[in-house]
Amino acid sequence: MLAHMQTDPKGPAIEFHEVSYEANVVKILSGLNLKIARGETLVLLGRSGSGKTTTLKLVNRLISPTSGEVMVNGAPNETADLIRLRRGIGYVIQEGGLFPHFTVERNIGLVPKIEGWGKERIHSRVEELLKLVGLESEIASRYPHQLSGGQRQRVGVARALAADPEILLMDEPFGALDPLTRDELQREFMALQQRLHKTIVFVTHDLREALRLGSRIALMEAGKLVTALTPEDFLKSDDPWASKYVQAFGDGTASIVNRGGR
């Protein structure tokens, strides 16, 4: 369905070329250069206001850069068909951003439905996705307010995966969860990623989460990319900002590093 977007299957999935973004004369992002490879989980790590969510929203063009260029699947974002671009990219936000007036099934099936899928196909896709994210199929007829935070987040992930996008953008998806649920979802996230091999851009301010889930960590500070390193290199890095982070999170960070290869 979205095959026409893959101009170069070996090239990076997402590229930022000298990207800057200003809102009301305030520089939020400056001179960002970053390549995100296919199938990698790039974690954007940084404080609030460091520009990580802005970076994420530039990918599906919820915002447009003031200068520079964002490329998705080798094609410049600016000229792409906005609606097609977004339907080819899954988007997950905190608390899932679910539609409160839709059941779980309608939430997950919305993009397939507007893409013109038949009822049966949507129904079986919803079942498949619920299973994939570890939910019972009975949940399909419930409304978001009848779910726990963890369930809502799972539905949010299922919804983002509905039309089988190659790229997933996740904006602090586990930020609002209690530590136990968060741990559970992180585990499932890793298992899911090993099966699906999506290109994932994941925003968090939690170093532990970044080390655990990321194949690479891009550290941001005050609208600039400080460094982008694998979790292991990140811990060893002598970059002042990176070591500040490692210090702030204290001991035990080395034991949680994602050594998933890649």
Partner: protein
């Protein structure tokens, strides 16, 4: 009891004037919805229009109704028929609650939900019809409810310019200094207002998002 007797004796006229009243209120409310809801949507999406539009609707609301009927009388097409004029005036009064509630309802939709929808690739019209309007429905309906109740009351004044409706009884009763005649207009008007309030309220609760 003699009020009841009076109304029963004149039941054809009570019915006729009630229907006229309903016609004035119904047509003006329908027009106000047709104009007010799209206007409310527009100003919710284009913030720079919201102040002037809401201010204008507010100013209309402050014009005394009898004066507004009088002002509109010399307008060429409008002045030709009094019910036409009454409907336009009632529409103008009904606009404010409808525009304001549509605006508030749409602005009140959780921005995270709207952004999630946009990020998923919904077009602006899909976003409006699938997300924003359904989530704003109960607020919009409560605006319509207020508009109807105001209109039922205001429509009694339309009799002053000969547009008919239950105001006929009220004005006639005032002239005759006969309470029974006044009440023959006032009671059905009050019942209409309560019934409309109840029905739209029911609709509002049924359509409220879970």
């Amino acid at each position: 009891m003699n009020i009841v007797r009076f109304m029963l004796q004149n039941h054809t006229q009570v019915l006729e004037l009630t229907l006229e009243h309903l016609w004035l209120v119904g047509v003006s409310t329908a027009l106000a919805i047709a104009i007010g809801v799209p206007t409310g949507i527009l100003i919710a999406h284009r913030p720079r229009f919201n102040k002037p539009v809401l201010a204008s609707a507010n100013i209309i609301q402050t014009i005394p109704s009898l004066a507004l009927f009088g002002f509109l009388l010399p307008v060429p097409w409008l002045g030709a028929r009094s019910d036409r004029l009454a409907i336009v005036a009632l529409t103008l009064y009904a606009l404010l609650p409808i525009i304001r509630n549509t605006f508030t309802g749409i602005r009140g939709v959780d921005p995270a939900v709207v952004e999630a929808g946009r990020g998923m690739g919904l077009t602006e019209s899909q976003l409006l019809f699938q997300v924003e309007l359904p989530l704003a429905t109960s607020v919009i309906l409560s605006g319509i409810r207020v508009a109807i109740v105001i209109s039922v009351g205001l429509a009694t004044i339309a009799a002053a310019i000969g547009a008919g409706g239950l105001g006929e009884f009220i004005f006639r009763g005032l002239a005759m200094v006969d309470d029974r005649v006044i009440l023959a207009g006032a009671i059905p008007a009050a019942v209409l207002a309560l019934a409309a309030d109840f029905i739209v309220g029911l609709l509002e609760r049924r359509l409220r998002t879970p």
